[in-house]
Amino acid sequence: MKYSLLPVLGFILMISSCEKKESEYDRGPLLQNIGNNVIAPAYKLSHDRATSLKDAVVSFNDAPDIAKLQTLKVAFNSAYTAWQGIETYDFGAAESQSYSLNTFPCDTNKIAANIVSGTYTLGAAGNLAAKGFAAIDFLLYSKDESATVNFFTTNSNARKYLLDVTTDISSNITTAYDAWTNGGSAGFIAATALDAGSSISILNNAWAQATERTRRERVGNALGYIGLISSGNLYPDKLEGLYANNAKELLIANLEANKNLFTGGSGIGFDDYPKVKEALYQERPLNEEITNQFDKAIAASQAISGDFKSALINEKPKMETLFLELKKLTVLIKVDMASAIGVTINYTDNDGD
């Protein structure tokens, strides 16, 4: 027993005397690439497009006509698509924005009531489903274009509501964007540890929640299809982008953004992190499996020829396949990747049981 410490000390000295070199286990380069080359451009794009959306609303409200409505719709669609690239980052200054800016389906009665009364607090919990992208989708697409133009021309409350909801979106995204640009990104890159509260653990928790949400809300709810057991009831009115009927495009944008987060674009991503490379999923490297699964889910969305609403009836088996792919993706992100990285989501003591 007397000498039992010697080998320990010897071992430590022996190895630490080796040149300290960059290890591929270091999380600095990974976070740097994700923070600077994945998250920052996504925020910038979303911020720019939300600003353009607001400009388009102001211009439309000034003198509504069909041409301006069409311009506005284009601005809205690109803002909504860009939003899919940042919805996952529901932390820091952006915490809880994924639902405050994108709860769907929207509550059309509540929107109508708000417009009639003209007084509302968009930040109130009761208005969660009466604002955000889904509310604008409803306001711009639920009627045909001439009826929509007519509605806004004759209803100043409606114009005000459209502007208020857009301002709420753009100011929230601007807040998150500014926070990211002014120190948020630097803090994210610096917090390289892996304990609770570190960047990787916060990002992975948000990511797991976002992926789970996509599975459930972007496809599962509409299908009424759950696991191996089906109720047989379809709920097309639970789709995202319900009135513009672009749930498919939004989902693909979302999946591509998240795949980009995983691969780190052309830089270092989670797929390069050794623990994800070394971990196995059914004897295959986990990083390949997750990249494949993103591709499979994207391909399953693209394999649907119509829009999701009609696909629920005409291409239901393909919708079901898509749901299964999303389910597998969720488990891979939430369980396998989190476990491989060793993400801590405990905020209290834990003895690893």
Binding site: Y25, K334, D349, D353
Partner: protein, 436 residues
């Protein structure tokens, strides 16, 4: 042999180790209670959740309403201080044991081996006369001074410590731990930013080194602690080992410090006597004849202690997946396990199905623990059945779709998806609906 053991256990021994143990344990518990309170965990763990995972047979245990839980922790703090001071010691020790165990029984989400250890130690302290020396009870004449106790009173605490280490070591003798250095291989690189040793933690050989030394330490340390010739070295190793675990795994909280402090019970009495020398008076001893009932309770207690960690042998299947017989067995830091479970509630009359978002009913930590532990999945399934029946579901059926990965082997289905969990009852029987 039997005579030798009996005469060893009945030898007169110095009471000083017991008194030092009492004081150190009391101080540790006071600090741990303050830390728990300070971290906001009373609110987070016992006030905020709307549902609690009680232990089998203890579903009547509920947290107190309002500020009740704060009152409980305030009482724990006072009891811990009283234990350290040796003031109304019996009452304080029994109250501490009951209150602490009550808190632990509220929600198995928070189960930790070291909380279980603290419950046991405080249970033992209830029965030992640790306040008969260096205490306010003696000073105020509430207890009779003594400077010697029968050896078995010290031995009880030592034996309990030995059980913890030994079974923790035996549990590490498995192929994942020894042959694959799992889960340390997954966990150690997380700490690669530590000064000096950081870069080492990226290396596989380090994980193997820690796995094997950890196993050998746990299995053997008690023997060296019991041996008078090696106890000083062994205690030094205990300190180094636990300091290391505290640095590498800050999430294990106060556990390393509790173990370091408690292991001092093995030190020769002269060590403790030096610390407490000022409390010595003219020799006074007690024959402790009235302690036969306590000797019997201890015999039962240690029999249970020796059997609980091996009860898993009664269950088929992979222990790491089923966790049948996993708790209360000193299996510490043994596996990296993660899971995800989705519940589907079916109205048996209409066939309608609702999918549950677990976070609507559980805290993040509860959901995480539940998703990898079959008995918690079953409990939550029953809770959901009740909620949905109240919402108008008839013949409510609950199905769980779960995936679990152990030690980075890849997620696999965890629960038989076609089993209606609402119709399964919790018991000590094998949970056949858990997939291997």
């Amino acid at each position: 042999m039997k005579n030798r053991i009996t005469s060893y256990l009945n030898q007169q021994a110095s009471i000083a180790p017991l008194a030092v143990f009492r004081i150190a344990f009391g101080i540790m518990m006071a600090l741990a209670t303050i830390r728990f309170w300070h971290n906001g965990w009373i609110e987070q763990l016992y006030i905020r959740p709307s549902f609690f995972f009680t232990y089998y047979g203890f579903d009547w245990v509920k947290p107190l309403q309002g500020n009740g839980m704060y009152l409980v922790f305030a009482s724990l703090l006072i009891c811990a201080i009283c234990i350290a001071l040796g003031l109304v010691y019996r009452f304080a020790a029994i109250s501490f044991f009951l209150l602490f165990t009550y808190v632990e029984l509220i929600d198995k989400t928070t189960y930790l081996n070291h909380y279980y250890f603290i419950s046991i130690i405080s249970f033992l302290l209830c029965m030992l006369p640790a306040h008969r020396f260096a205490s306010l009870d003696v000073r105020f004449g509430l207890a009779k001074y003594t400077n010697a106790v029968p050896r078995w009173m010290i031995f009880a605490l030592q034996f309990q410590m030995a059980i913890v280490y030994f079974f923790a070591g035996i549990a590490k003798i498995n192929s994942d731990w020894l042959l694959h250095a799992l889960p340390l291989r997954i966990w150690l690189p997380d700490k690669n930013e530590l000064p000096l040793i950081g870069p080492l933690l990226n290396l596989k050989v380090t994980a193997y080194f820690f796995s094997w030394t950890g196993m050998l330490f746990d299995c053997l340390i008690a023997f060296f602690l019991f041996n008078k010739r090696t106890v000083w070295y062994a205690y030094a190793v205990v300190v180094v080992f636990h300091v290391f675990t505290a640095i590498l795994f800050p999430a294990i909280g106060v556990f390393p410090f509790v173990m370091m402090v408690c292991a001092s019970i093995f030190m020769p009495a002269s060590f403790h006597e030096r610390i407490l020398h000022r409390f010595y008076r003219a020799s006074a001893q007690d024959d402790f004849h009235s302690y036969s009932i306590i000797r019997f309770i201890l015999l039962v207690h240690f029999t249970i202690q020796l059997l609980l960690p091996i009860r898993y042998l009664l269950y088929p299947g992979n222990l790491f997946r089923t966790e049948q017989g996993y708790r209360f067995s000193w299996r510490v830091m043994l596996m990296e396990k993660a899971g995800d479970v989705t519940f589907h509630i079916r109205d048996g009359a209409t066939g309608n199905i609702a999918t549950v978002r677990n976070r609507d009913y559980l805290t993040q930590q509860q959901e995480k623990q539940m998703s990898t532990q079959a008995d918690m999945i079953l409990q939550f399934a029953h809770h959901l059945a009740k909620i949905y029946s109240q919402r108008g579901f008839r013949n409510t059926e609950v199905y769980a779709e779960g995936y679990v990965t152990v030690n980075g082997r890849g997620s696999k289905p965890f629960i038989k998806e076609d089993v209606n969990l609402a119709a399964q009852h919790d018991s000590f029987d094998n949970k056949w609906w858990v997939l291997p």
